[in-house]
């Protein structure tokens, strides 16, 4: 399988790097300080292929904390607020769109 780092990135807007946390699979985002956060607003946003490649390389190297890092689109508002860039990422960010049956 081709590593994400071997794939040529095509960036058409603001993106972040996201992955799943090793211990519990939670959705996490790569921060500017080379850490991970479950909060999208703390993600580092980049807009060029070169910057995304660098961000992804750092994320992928952190194999002990994160699994399956990849570049995902975001929408950035004028006030700096971030929203996931597509439905898949929105569901990863906010959880299933349905009520969970087992909630007690």
């Amino acid at each position: 399988m081709t590593s994400p780092l071997q794939q040529k990135l095509r960036i058409t807007g603001p993106v972040v790097v996201t992955a799943n946390r090793l211990g519990d699979g939670a959705v996490i985002y790569r921060t500017g300080g080379g850490q991970w956060s479950t909060r999208l607003e703390q993600a580092e946003v980049v807009t060029t292929a070169a910057a995304a490649t660098t961000l992804l390389a750092g994320a992928t190297a952190d194999d002990i904390n994160a699994v399956g890092a990849y570049v995902a689109p975001v929408r950035q508002h004028a006030d700096g607020g971030l929203q996931p860039g597509n439905l898949r990422e929105a569901i990863r960010h906010a959880g299933p769109t349905i009520a969970l049956p087992g909630v007690i």
Partner: protein, 552 residues
């Protein structure tokens, strides 16, 4: 129930211990994800959108009340208080933490449960008729053969790295409730002209990206040869199946490319040298496996006892449920009861921990401690005395498990879709939920008769949309969810693929489109007992296409 022996217990326990060590090494960094991923997949652990997902095999869909309680415990202790019964007679937990998985696996192993071969390119959980052993129309219990195959193919080194996953289904009934013609191998027990019982062997069926109905390559295979012949099919596939393209790696592509006749010749060439070797089944071995199945000691009862007749006459809701969810049993005075996991507005196939515990208690009280899972994502209590049906129904009704919609329009098969699955393009569950609301009127649902809706959130077809009477396939177009609509599919002994009726429709219109199709059917059918499928066969898809697209 099949009773595990020491060998089975040791295998499962040792596997759990190995997995504990593997997880510890992954969490410490000793194993990379690339090294660990194949190991976790071999134990049924996927990484989905939000969390790890654990898939537990329920061999041939059979489980004890104690095993059901263990599933409830896992749901409560390690997950979010529910589980999802799948179309492959498995259960999935959607929120398991990797760090807690070894403890969960230990708890499951103590109940004889595991996730072995629920993922990866190996022979997956072998499925069968959820009414096996109790259905009046079967010629013998197919689970014995599923168990023989399970034992032979569990951790079989030669078949642990096949070109792609491999699914086997077995049936022994005239009516195929196991969908054997859409499996990699389908085995149908039947009687030949001489009165002998053997297998029809069907290969190369499957859904997904490239759907095929399986081809019969052996109309009658003596029972003694089933292991050697399945071994020969697997060897042929292992040798000639494509490994260069994941989309062309399933056996169905090989059978299609070679042609069924040429494929059968290759299988025969593999089979002849081994058919009379150690894999030829000694009747004593078959009897020993059969002897591990424990059948209830049924009382001598009569059908339709007075208390049942009285309840059916006096309680309309009970009578409706009885007509819909209760089926004849081999033993006089007993019944097979299907528990709908398709309540109005509910995710198809989901059960809470509380429901699982309650079902286990009801199984102990009314079904000799046994429960089944069917590929339609419902549960079954297989041995209920007819005199107990009213009491059982009252208990199920209180638990939300007595929706009388089995086999009806709201008994929808759906994959988890984009709400959970990392492969999905679209959501499936909300579509199913909306349809159950649209068709909440049970009188209407009853009047429609048998009508199966199947929903898949992507081309991988986990919701079996190709063989739904109405099939819905989610596709993504420019970031938006759309659904392709097929009609006329069926999964039984007359299996066929549905036909696409036109361009994909937007997510928000799917329920309207299904309602349009149902309204067209009501207008087109010539009599009330002409089911949807028969109407489609009689008039074709054109009237439905016109109805759906005339105003869109």
């Amino acid at each position: 129930m099949y009773l595990y022996d020491d060998l089975d217990r040791t295998l499962v326990t040792e596997r759990a211990a190995e997995f504990r060590d593997q997880v510890a090494r992954r969490l410490s960094g000793e194993l990379t994800e690339d090294e660990f991923k194949p190991l976790r997949l071999m134990n049924g652990i996927y990484l989905q959108l939000h969390a790890y997902m654990l898939r537990i095999a329920l061999p041939y869909g059979s489980l004890s009340s104690d095993q059901m309680r263990t599933l409830a415990h896992v749901a409560r202790r390690y997950d979010r208080n529910y589980g999802h019964f799948t179309t492959r007679q498995n259960i999935q937990f959607n929120w398991i933490k990797l760090a807690e998985l070894p403890d969960a696996m230990d708890d499951l192993a103590r109940a004889g449960l595991h996730g072995m071969q629920t993922s990866g390119n190996c022979v997956r959980n072998i499925t069968t008729d959820q009414w096996a052993g109790v259905a009046p129309d079967e010629i013998e219990d197919p689970r014995v053969w599923a168990e023989i195959l399970r034992q032979h193919l569990t951790l079989h080194p030669e078949f642990s790295f096949l070109p792609r996953k491999f699914k086997i289904a077995v049936t022994a009934a005239a009516h195929d409730r196991a969908a054997i013609r859409v499996h990699d191998i389908g085995l149908r027990l039947h009687r030949n002209g001489a009165g002998e019982v053997g297998f029809e062997v069907v290969v190369g069926g499957g859904l997904g990206r490239t759907p095929f109905i399986g081809k019969t390559i052996k109309p009658f295979l003596p029972k003694r040869d089933v292991l050697s012949y399945v071994e020969a099919v697997l060897r042929t596939y292992n040798q000639f199946g494509r490994r260069d393209n994941i989309y062309k790696a399933r056996i169905k592509i090989l059978v299609h490319d070679l042609g069924a006749e040429a494929f059968a010749k290759e299988v025969d060439a593999e089979w002849q040298p081994i058919k009379d070797g150690p894999l030829a089944l000694d009747p004593a071995v078959v009897a020993a496996v059969a002897g591990h199945f424990r059948y209830p000691s049924y009382e001598a009862l009569s059908d339709n006892p007075p208390e049942l007749a009285k309840a059916r006459a006096s309680d309309r809701r009970f009578a409706t449920w009885f007509a819909n969810s209760v089926t004849n049993h081999k033993a006089p005075g007993y019944a097979i009861v299907t528990l709908s996991l398709k309540p109005e507005g509910g995710p198809p196939g989901d059960a809470t921990a509380e429901q699982m515990d309650a079902i286990a208690d009801l199984a102990d009280r009314y079904s000799f401690g046994e429960i089944r899972v069917g590929h339609e994502q419902n549960l079954v209590l297989p041995h209920v005395a007819q005199r107990d049906l009213l009491a059982l129904w009252k208990a199920l009704d209180a638990l939300g498990l007595a929706t009388p919609n089995v086999g009806l329009v709201s008994d929808i098969i759906a994959c988890p879709g984009l709400d959970y699955c990392s492969l999905a393009n679209t959501r499936s569950i909300p579509v199913a939920q909306e349809l159950t609301r649209r068709f909440r009127d049970l009188d209407l649902a009853q009047s429609l008769g048998r009508l199966h809706i199947n929903i898949s959130g992507c081309i991988n077809a986990c919701g079996h949309h190709h063989v739904g009477h109405i099939g819905l396939l989610g596709v993504e177009k420019n970031g938006e969810e759309f659904f392709q609509v097929t009609i006329g599919g069926q999964a039984d002994e007359n299996a066929m693929l549905g036909t696409l009726i036109g361009p994909a429709v937007p997510y928000a219109q799917v329920a309207d489109v299904v309602e349009d199709i149902v309204e067209a059917y009501l207008e087109l059918r010539t009599r009330p007992d002409e089911i949807f499928l028969d109407t489609v066969k009689r008039v074709g898809i054109e009237p439905f296409r016109e109805r759906v697209y005339a105003t869109r």
